[in-house]
Point group: C2
Chain length 374, copies 2
């Protein structure tokens, strides 16, 4: 007896794919990335024509890959700590996602692949089998910015059934060159919150992750501009979209607490700068502020935070400024912290090993979220 | 006066990216894809070493690209109808996503890029500025299949505020080689429903899009197997996960109507086969059944649908079987329809121009959804 589904899944699998070319240069079968039991990782890329192939790694500078007799370029790493790592190949100057790896980061400017070195279920970013919250994707037209944009909302496990409960909210921003899904793809924010909540380490909360650009030109360039007018419009548009569009929509459509002590604001890199600028200038709205590896350099903090002095300590439950010690932004972060202290503002100073990377950003969220709403 | 955010977005944008290699082979700046005003599209790919680069197109067989003096391989198409088109480059036998295009399809077996040839806002897949529904991503551990899996739920505009209203539900399945987000990325199902609802063409409805594999091995292979035991386990697992896990979760967590006349089931390719097999064998649960370019060949329909005869017409509000006339699966679809008619079962027979592609699948959804729940 032949069965319809049995027979035809395979036929459909073939039919659904574009026909492979009958290329004269048939490519050998390649596995990449291959994570070995000792946590070393082998990357492989077949390219008969390339003169040079580099591995661009989120965990260090680019390194050359070696070609074998079959024109397979490869590189095996040292043992890596369990984590998710971004990477790409650069073949004769062209950055390429690993064609054998379907896990990509969601970025705006270039395709990156991502490899998972698995670790114990206790690691906050592992997905595991514990109860999971949900991630909700919203789309709307923004008068503040003048474009169509989106944001993501994490609701914790049990949100659907505990209909009498209201939750505090963390507003969480991505970095330059990224887009709204960054925190739930490479950031794994939903799994991090699932795990912290399951372990009793963090209070159940809602996390809102908007697109981080306040002007259409910045959304196209990944945040980069040399035009001061665009910069100023972007800063204003970001704050207006947050205050007049996203927060009202969230507070209308989700069961959230709306007092300032139930609102936190944080972000990474560009998003950390935004959370500081937005949060410290709106203490009537936010009591918990986090900056993860914020994009800070040499600037006139007195101009950016004109009203900030020690009286803010009465309103701030937590001002948490974290940066990796190998991050080129560490100097700017230290400078901000010194300025805050010189103004009498209490700041939690966090320095951890690491560069400007998601390995640091994810750990920042995992360390920051448990402190909130206490 | 220097401003913190103004100055540092650009620095953060640079810092967030891995350092580009100081490669001896500096790649020229390339724009790809470039959609021209006459709706032709130019694809470009820089590769000094490749001996052959092909463009693999969702809208036809692979075609060779031409190299210029700068080692930029390019191809300009004929004018294309407004739509979204999948494509990739094949350089010396290696399939590659377009490194200059961040729009990718979500697939399981290979990276594909996607290019949008924009059309009038009246086209169902254009996103536009009309009210948008939301897309909800759920994660859970499945006893039926024995893995951790996910599904997506579309809620129509107004769902959050019209709290007294309950909605009918369409269960919608992806094809082989795809994953749960396929219908909301390349499928644009949420925008198609937004548009049909805004134009008064479709009833407001909820759409549930689960992962389509009923066994972990099939989830890893994209549905392909030659092991009959895996096939049977997959078929059983898919149905059990749908009936015992996904439908109960949806009916618990969303405001949905739960009678059979408020439940539709449809899918594309492998998913079309699943919707026929699952739906026609469970008319106590579903009154509306759609198969879009279903994976049908030569099989023993009497064995697959042992109880199906003309008495089913009393229960079936719509049995809609559509396929592209240039699809290699058209013969199997015609054969099924003839068999259904020979059994006295009423079937709506749809043949439209096109191959086995998302250009056809999206139009199938746009034609099917307006017929539901009438």
């Amino acid at each position: 007896m032949k069965c319809l589904v049995s027979l035809l899944w395979f036929a459909a699998a073939l039919a659904a794919q574009p026909t492979p070319a009958s290329s004269p240069a048939a490519a050998p079968s390649v596995i990449s990335p291959e994570v070995h039991p000792d946590r070393t990782v082998t990357f492989r890329f077949y390219s008969p024509g390339a003169k040079e192939v580099l591995l661009t790694r989120e965990w260090g500078p680019p390194v050359p890959m070696q070609r074998d007799g079959q024109n397979i370029w490869s590189l095996t790493t040292e043992p890596l700590e369990p984590d998710y790592y971004g990477y790409s190949f650069v073949a004769d100057g062209v950055g390429l996602a690993d064609p054998k790896n379907l896990e990509t980061k969601t970025e705006l400017l270039r395709l990156y692949s991502m490899v998972h070195v698995p670790g114990p279920a206790s690691l906050p970013w592992e997905s595991g089998s514990r109860p999971h919250g949900a991630v909700h994707h919203h789309f709307y037209s923004s008068p503040a910015v003048g474009d169509n944009r989106d944001y993501f909302v994490y609701t914790p496990p049990g949100y659907e059934t505990l209909t009498g409960q209201r939750y505090p909210v963390l507003y969480l921003f991505h970095g330059a060159g990224e887009i709204a899904p960054a925190w739930t793809t490479q950031g794994r924010a939903n799994f991090i919150l699932d795990n912290l909540i399951a372990q009793g380490k963090a209070k159940p909360m809602i996390v809102v992750m908007p697109l981080g650009y306040g002007a259409p030109e910045l959304a196209a360039s990944g945040g980069a501009t040399r035009d001061p007018a665009v910069r100023d419009r972007g800063r204003k548009g970001f704050r207006e979209a947050l205050f007049n569009e996203i927060i009202p929509q969230v507070e209308q459509n989700y069961r959230v607490l709306t007092d300032r002590r139930s609102r936190a604001i944080a972000g990474l890199s560009m998003g950390g700068t935004q959370s500081l600028y937005t949060g410290l200038n709106a203490l009537d709205r936010f009591a918990w502020i986090g900056a993860f590896s914020a994009g800070l350099g040499t600037q006139d903090y007195a101009a950016d935070f004109p009203k900030l002095d020690q009286s803010a300590n009465r309103q701030i439950d937590l001002l948490w400024v974290a940066c990796g010690t190998e991050d080129t932004l560490i100097a700017g972060n230290r400078q901000l912290r010194e300025w805050l202290k010189s103004r009498g503002v209490r700041v939690t100073e966090i320095e951890t090993p690491g560069i400007h990377s998601w390995m640091v950003f994810r750990r920042s969220l995992a360390a920051f979220a448990p402190l909130l709403f206490r």
